[in-house]
């Protein structure tokens, strides 16, 4: 028979534990602290006024839909610095089904050597 205590048990590992309910309580406390700190903030903020407008170093503001950064522009620095990795990966992903089968044969051969010969 399952009791209510079964649900709130802590997941224990060899060197730690995890209980989402305790985590939830900790998060609530953290939010309360943040809320209190927020209370000390500047109260001069006014919505829909000049102070909330976007400032692009004096350049004119783009239309709203043009301001959205597209997916292909995100993480540009990361992909650029790992260009050499992506070059290899792109070369691997040819889209040719014969290559897919070739990779299968290569892995099968490697497994043969590891498990069959040793």
């Amino acid at each position: 028979m399952i009791s209510i205590y079964d649900f709130i048990e802590t997941l224990t590992t060899d060197s730690g534990f995890w209980n989402p309910l305790i985590w939830g309580v900790a998060i609530v406390i953290a939010f309360l602290i943040v809320y209190i700190i927020r209370g000390f903030g500047n109260k001069g903020y006014k919505k829909e006024t000049e102070q909330t407008k976007v400032f692009l170093s004096g350049n004119p503001e783009y239309k709203e839909e043009k301001m959205h950064v597209k997916a292909s522009n995100l993480y540009w620095g990361f992909t650029e610095s790992l260009k050499w990795v992506y070059k290899v990966l792109d070369k691997m992903h040819t889209g040719n089904v014969s290559d897919y089968v070739l990779w299968f044969v290569i892995i099968m051969g490697t497994l043969f050597i590891i498990l069959g010969v040793i």
Binding site: E65, H68, I107
Partner: protein, 530 residues
């Protein structure tokens, strides 16, 4: 008919109900489309009921159930029937639960998602055939039967991937899938033939009891692992997966995720049940170190898993097509499961080895649910906007509030953020792999952070930002699609909030079935050597 009779016949009914439903669907479709949809949902619902009934029995009693087709005779000297039989232990029940949740969500989601399409009689027939094939693969205790169900699943999957025939790329993906599936299945059949020629049997428990680990057995093991690993999408045999997942209708992709996990189950069943008794026997002695098969296979799997995680996550990061991005992330997630299995094998018999198995098994269900939910969200966006390119999206959270919430749940879960289910299973994986080698755990954690970055990118580009004029009339998706996403989201939250409950009641029996194959063997052949 009492409950015990239903449970006794459940293994057969779980396959028979969707199989029969598949052949009746076109006939019901002749009457009315809505009636056909209701019929399909009821068929899968009934199957799910049988699955949960059987799983409850297996998990609460700890027993293994067998179901012999066609009576109990003739029997061998060892005392078991020479028939096709289904054998259900903790691992089978666990996998059946995953398949049933995904199947139910799929048919509910399809109601609205596929509404505008023609040929839906064929679509639902194939869905039910695929479901029957998956359950057959999960429940069977017979090698050839496993192959037959594998083929049923593969053929129906192929047609479903290519269902949108008006889109050339879908047909191309379907073709690639059938080539890959047929190649893998051919080698699996070859392995089965090798085992049959040696031991004159196809029963898994009998073979597990008889296997000697001869050179031919080694070849059979390699063929089985390679064939099933390709179906599971392990790098570098994963390349069919982004094509297939990316081009199939989202409802189909959801079940394809299940089919991939079932192939992974095949790897586990073959390695741990069929070859379980040979795993820890020393193969060679080099100095003071003895080389065992579990160590060798474990290290091989860890290497493959790390490559799988890295390639999956790095490729996901650069994708701009929503579904291809999730597909590569799914490849990375499969890597985590394989990593746990590899770590468990390497440290077999130790407490952290057992923890690795539990983490890996737990991650199978978490991965299926998290990735499945994200695919449904991708389908919902496609349904509402007809877009799959992230570059064309933006500001959708303003029009699709519920879908956004479901995406956030999927995002947090797949990236292993607390308090979602992915965190609990990844915690077990990190801690156990750290014991094997800290570098492995560090790589795994870093890749999980990258995975979070991948989906933050999706969240930013699709859901945040100003409302785009072209999407001003976009509305949230119909209720049936929201319901399907809601069902999966509920499971994700439940598994996340009560991880120890899930580990104790679902994961541990499945992991125990992996670690100890004796019960599986003795249930069928009574421990007697035939």
């Amino acid at each position: 008919m009492n409950l015990e009779t239903i449970i006794t016949h459940s293994p057969a009914l779980i396959v028979a109900v969707p199989l029969l439903g598949a052949f009746l669907t076109p006939l019901v479709g002749k009457i009315n489309d809505k009636l056909r949809n209701v019929f399909v949902i009821l068929t899968v619902g009934l199957t799910t009921f049988f699955v949960f009934l059987l799983a409850n029995d297996i998990f609460s009693s700890g027993n293994i159930r067998t179901y012999v087709f066609g009576g109990g005779t003739p029997i061998t000297d060892g005392g078991f029937a020479i028939r096709i039989l289904f054998e259900v232990d903790g691992l089978n029940a666990f996998m059946a639960i995953i398949a049933s949740i995904l199947a139910l969500a799929c048919v509910i989601y399809s109601w609205a998602f596929m509404k505008e399409n023609t040929g839906l009689d064929k679509y639902y027939t194939l869905i039910l055939l695929m479901v029957a094939g998956m359950f057959g693969m999960i429940l069977t205790g017979d090698m050839f039967n496993f192959f037959v169900f594998l083929e049923i699943t593969s053929i129906s999957s192929c047609v479903l991937i290519a269902f949108w025939t008006n889109k050339g790329k879908a047909v191309d993906a379907g073709f690639k899938y059938i080539v890959i599936s047929a190649t893998g299945a051919l080698f699996i059949l070859f392995a089965i033939a090798i085992l049959y020629s040696q031991y004159n049997a196809l029963n898994m428990a009998f073979l597990a009891n008889s296997i000697q680990y001869t050179f031919l057995d080694k070849i059979a093991l390699v063929l089985l692992i390679a064939g099933l690993a390709m179906k599971a999408g392990i790098v570098p045999m994963h390349m069919w997966l982004p094509d297939a997942y990316g081009r199939a209708p989202s409802s189909v992709t959801l079940i394809l995720v299940g089919a991939t996990q079932v192939s992974l189950y095949g790897v586990l069943r073959m390695t741990f049940t069929l070859y379980g008794s040979q795993l820890t026997i020393p193969l060679k002695q080099i100095g003071d170190t003895s080389i065992t098969m579990n160590g060798l296979l474990g290290i091989t799997l860890i290497a493959l898993a790390l490559i799988t995680i890295l390639v999956g996550v790095l490729m996901a990061l650069k994708q701009t097509d929503f579904k291809r991005l999730i597909a590569f992330a799914a490849v990375g997630e499969i890597g985590y499961i394989v990593l746990a299995i590899g770590a468990g094998l390497t440290a077999m018999g130790t407490s952290y080895g057992n923890m690795a198995f539990r983490g890996g098994i737990f991650h199978i269900i978490n991965d299926a649910l998290d990735v499945g939910l994200l695919f449904l969200v991708a389908g919902a966006i496609y349904y509402a906007t007809k877009q799959t390119s992230l570059n064309q999206m933006g500001g959708l959270s303003r029009n699709m509030k519920y879908t956004t919430v479901f995406f956030l749940i999927g995002l947090l879960a797949v990236a292993g953020m607390p308090p979602m289910n992915g965190f609990a299973s990844k915690l077990l994986i990190y801690q156990s792999t750290y014991q094997v080698n800290p570098i492995i755990a560090i790589v795994a954690i870093l890749c999980s952070i990258l995975l979070l970055a991948v989906f933050v990118k999706v969240f930013h580009s699709a859901f945040l930002g100003p409302k785009l004029p072209k999407f001003k009339d976009v509305k949230d998706v119909p209720k049936s699609m929201l319901l399907a996403m809601g069902i999966i989201a509920c499971f994700i939250i439940f598994f996340g909030l009560f991880p120890e409950f899930v580990v104790n009641n679902l994961v541990k029996p499945a992991a125990d079935a992996i670690i100890n194959n004796t019960n599986y063997i003795t249930t069928v052949i009574g421990g007697a050597v035939p």
